[in-house]
Symmetry: C2
């Protein structure tokens, strides 16, 4: 894996709280078979040993598919399982510390919620950005209203100015049904939790999303 | 700091849940002034950014006093604030991963609850052991009964056999009043939370404990 050239177009976020209790390894495998191009493992509120076991299980799957895996927040877990990097939000390890710990090869993703954050947050170490919440979602509680595809486009525009060439994905509430406007607003991909991992057939859901993202890209081209 | 030669005799465990809401930096400073020789920062259930801020605050104090600081579990936090190492329990990052991440200079402490654990756990990377629960305690819930000073002595004896020369501290429910039998059982020190950090006067409590530990050592000599 490399810090550039990874494909964020169909970005799955695997969270054990959003898999209907199903096995993380099987969920990852089905999603990657369906066309997920990049995976994030996000686990909150577990002890480190449990989290580590889950991450070992998932990294084995992503390695087999040659798809990058980033761990949400926990740089120690990413290091221990030799994941490809971390994804960092407001309450997580700051990007510069993550870089110091994981080294120059690691992929670091950073969440950005607003034009203000894009202009003021330390973002030098980020290799890509997750921008949202694009749509309303049940999987994360925030007090701010969703930004919509237009708001996404505005933040992406700012990021292109302050961090040229770094890819940007939309996140929150995105499905195969509503991803087209996000792609049309310039997204390099969409980060999706529930539309993939809450589906009865995860592989089919991922395939449907991948096709919708590709279709939106072709329509925009 | 170094991986050997540190003084565990008066080992303070600073946990924001056991400081009666007082400032962590002030608590650390008072404890070190009173004679605490080694400090562990233990925080559960906080987000990484909050935990990092607390650790930065405490490491500044331990540096000023030239006393080692280890972080409970969170190897990422220890790395980010350049703490002297980590302390690891059953549910935490395994010692070999902690060593791989923190390097050869880091102090790694490991919790051991029984002779069986002493004989079977991977302990090669540990630089010292915390053995308990010696006495009943309010600050940690475990279903097993306390081992008492005799049980402590038995586990310590086993550790001396399987990991010769590595220091061993007793932990749980230890106070200036009841530390003497633990020291008499061969402890290199006692790890204390409440008797120091729940006290009205933390510095005086640390001084009282330090005197009791020294007195017990002299009585045993």
């Amino acid at each position: 894996m490399s810090r550039t050239g990874f494909d964020l177009s169909v970005y799955g976020v695997l969270d054990p709280a959003r898999t209907r209790g199903r096995d993380l390894g099987e969920m990852a495998d089905a999603a990657l078979k369906g066309g997920v191009t990049f995976l994030q493992l996000r686990i909150k509120s577990e002890n480190t040993r449990t989290l580590l076991a889950a991450a070992f299980k998932v990294v084995e799957v992503t390695r087999a598919h040659n798809v990058p895996l980033v761990i949400n927040d926990r740089v120690d877990i990413a290091h221990a399982v030799k994941a490809d990097g971390v994804h960092i939000g407001d309450e997580d390890m700051p990007p510069d510390h993550a870089r110091a710990l994981l080294g120059e090869e690691a992929i670091i993703g950073q969440t950005i919620h607003s034009v203000h954050e894009a202009e003021t947050y330390p973002i030098a170490e980020a290799d890509y950005f997750g921008v949202g919440a694009v749509y309303a979602t049940a999987s994360k509680n925030r007090d701010v209203p969703p930004i919509g595809p237009d708001g996404f486009g505005e933040i992406r525009h700012t990021l292109q100015r302050v961090a040229p060439g770094k890819p940007v994905v939309g996140i929150a509430g995105i499905t195969s049904e509503n991803c087209a406007p996000v792609m049309a607003a310039g997204a390099d991909g969409v980060a999706v939790i529930s539309d993939i991992f809450m589906a009865d057939d995860v592989e089919a859901a991922a395939r449907r999303l991948a096709a919708a993202v590709r279709g939106a890209g072709e329509a925009a081209a």
